[in-house]
Symmetry: C2
């Protein structure tokens, strides 16, 4: 029996798969599983803004639990946003319909030295409170995943000021102001490490770093500019039994630099073949992914066929596999189609 009592005695396939250990059934959760595709989420959002849901522990807890109750998912993920750490660092954010807007984006080196260090309990205490509530409300068999944006992705938003296809303003800053960019990366690295450690202390059973825009860098730039920071974060948050996952979008070319960092799980999108990811990652690294979210608009038999194809590709390897989408589930996805996917994944006996 582990220190946290009953949680230690129930099988938690998601955690087992993160460590490449045998599972009762192949675990599945989906990115943005609490979201607009759910009638129950839309009902909450009719009465509360996105920011309210993020910053009110009771609401964040409610929407985090909804998909776990409505679908047969194997993990819960904290409902929050990677940019909630910005305001307490001195970067006010407005969450608009077209994406977040940072009031004063970082464009000059002197703005960086004025950023505040994140004190998680004071700055984002509402997230830690939500984690405590969710963990208390979740069945012991369902792990709770905490998360944070990775430093490069946070830097992309802080500099660009909004979302973007290519983040050229942000990426250009790394070339024009390389020292300032490195200072910003260090600032975010410290903040992310403290934030994730606090999430783990509050009860998160696993944490996922989202480097959503890492794939915009070349492999060499990623190795030089990003990888050392990811290593620092890992060193500072590692705790036995709490897996650390990395999601990076558009990553086929980043698998090589990423192999230097001992993440427990690397999560790839549909553009990277799972077999390629499995071959290129470290031996102990499990793989998460990778159905294209648009495939959830196909007929049920096609959804199931694609799920089985992904599973059989992973089954040619000896790695742990957590089924997921390659990106967040789309707002218009029929709920029934997610149910079809979950049943298809659970229907294939684990290796």
């Amino acid at each position: 029996m582990t220190a946290n009592g009953q949680i230690g005695i129930v099988p938690r396939d998601f955690i087992e798969a993160c460590y490449g250990r045998p599972v009762r059934r192949r675990p599945i959760w989906v990115m943005r599983q609490a979201g607009r595709y759910q009638a129950s989420y839309r009902a909450v959002r009719e009465r509360h803004s996105f920011e309210e849901v993020c910053s009110t522990p009771e609401l964040a807890c409610q929407v985090t639990l909804q998909p776990v109750r409505e679908f047969d998912l194997d993990a819960a993920i904290l409902f929050s946003d990677i940019l909630v750490v910005f305001p307490p660092m001195g970067l006010p954010v407005h969450f608009a319909d077209g994406g977040p807007k940072i009031t004063e984006p970082i464009r000059r080196a002197d703005q960086i030295s004025r950023l505040a260090r994140l004190d998680p309990e004071r700055g984002v205490g509402f997230v830690l409170a939500a984690i405590r509530q969710i963990r208390a409300a979740l069945p012991p068999s369902i792990p709770l995943i905490g998360f944070s944006g990775a430093p490069f992705t946070l830097a992309c938003y802080a500099i660009e000021g909004t979302t973007s296809r290519d983040f050229t303003v942000a990426r250009r800053f790394f070339h024009e102001e390389p020292r300032a960019a490195e200072q910003l990366m260090t600032h975010f690295t410290n903040g992310v490490a403290d934030y994730l450690a606090a999430q783990i202390a509050a009860g998160a059973d696993a944490v996922q770093l989202f480097d959503s825009w890492g794939g915009l860098l070349s492999a060499e730039d990623y190795r030089v500019l990003v990888v050392p920071h990811l290593q620092t974060i890992l060193d500072r948050i590692r705790k036995p039994g709490v897996p650390v996952l990395l999601y990076a979008g558009g990553t086929a070319h980043l698998l090589q630099p990423l192999a230097d960092v001992p993440f427990d799980v690397v999560s790839v999108d549909w553009r990277t073949r799972l077999r390629t990811a499995a071959t290129m990652c470290r031996e102990a690294t499990a793989i998460q992914g990778n159905l294209d979210p648009v495939a959830l608009f196909a007929p049920p038999e096609e959804i199931a066929r694609r799920a089985r194809a992904i599973i059989s590709e992973m089954d040619t390897t000896d790695k742990g596999h957590i089924f997921n989408l390659g990106h967040g589930i789309l707002p218009d996805t029929p709920e029934e189609n997610l149910r079809t996917l979950v049943a298809a994944v659970h229907g294939v006996p684990p290796k």
Copy 2:
């Protein structure tokens, strides 16, 4: 001496490199080389809209020639837009500042059968006229590259109706209406083949297919949905001495399916290592690329260092190499920095 007289006797390094033959100096051109980063282009655009420049042969000719005169580039590329073929097919387009808007995007199968087949001379005669003027005005040593959007990228715009980060509406259509999507791909394949053949007949010395959004598909989907159409286009436009180039963005994962199609040149962005591209492409295929456009904001010595790194990577292979950016040159790029890049590329002796 070839049929076209004097053109045959002057060395044209761009064409030679496309076929992997020896060159006097390593050729370089850059995508969107006629564009807003140039004072001379902005001067034209102060008096004429983007649509006017595209549709007026004299203006298209003028802006096509400007970068060739101002920089020591080894090829000219027709100034046009991949969507000029849409209106004559029955898909009106408005070119707004935020990108093109298709008035009535394709969302239902019955819209596809009503599309008109493209008659290049009647529908986009202004492009063919521009090509004739440009070819007559260019020095014989400078080849003229014509171009077209590839069928999948055209389908992305036709369905989505505008530009997008993920083209989820369009990609979803391929799952919801697979037969209609295939019909649309066939329609565009016919149009593109006729259009490129007409460009070659009008005097284009090479043609490039832009599959800018192909990288949004998984390798398997690209192989099934796109590759057969690319093969059809190649079969229909092949002409001795006129190389066919393919640019596909975010393609590290597409090199395997692309190896089935005998393009003369595959152009990759900065996210694919040239050595990887060279290894995975067919033996006879030359490689084009791949400096990250944001690197043109670095100091001159860093621009030159990155150019030399790309060149030395290609020099470990025995393939033809055309230097280019990994994507279009950015509007704010200092002209001087492009000059630095061109000099750096030409400064390294060819293999």
